[in-house]
């Protein structure tokens, strides 16, 4: 149960077409990633709201035992 970095980026890209997205595979196992998403839609939202948007974009891929992703370290912000 894993996914590639490009699959992950593609999934995020569907919801954030204009975002700057940086994916890092932390463990090299396709299961532990860090993602930085910088998107204009985050402006005026707090971090909880921003990261809820990202989780929504993942469409259940992180849902516990049924999820394909175990760990995703998130950094979200609006462009400067």
């Amino acid at each position: 149960m894993a996914m590639t970095a490009s699959e992950l980026e593609q999934l995020l890209r569907e919801s954030f077409p204009a975002a700057k997205i940086t994916i890092t595979d932390l463990a090299g196992d396709g299961n532990h990633y860090a993602a930085e998403v910088i998107d204009a839609s985050f402006k005026g939202k707090n971090r909880v709201q921003q990261q809820r948007d990202v989780y929504a974009a993942l469409k259940g891929k992180m849902d516990g035992a049924n999820g394909v992703l175990h760990a995703l370290a998130l950094t979200t912000k609006a462009p400067e």
Partner: protein, 119 residues
Amino acid sequence: MSAQDTIRATVEGNDVVLFMKGTKTMPQCGFSSRVAGVLNFMGVSYVDVNVLADADIRQGIKDYSDWPTIPQLYVKGEFVGGCDIVTEMTLSGELDQLFDAKGVAYDKDAADKIREANA
């Protein structure tokens, strides 16, 4: 009591609550460990809820906050965030500000030490 009632009572009845995998003295996941470690080091008095001990709470807390991951930190009944948000807030000093605003006691020098070590 349903899982939602238990969660609400815990979150609203305690100043600081951490839902985590494992316990504050024996965390069982790196992300839970990081947040518990910050709170422990800062000397914050908090209630730890081990979601691995109760499947209904483990799913229930995700429904309660509409947040898919563990750990989850609550201060005065409000969801603050998960591991990444708490880490960022610790390093930026926003966590100190939140504790100040909510009247939660913590060791300011220890918080500064965390920031120095990660500068």
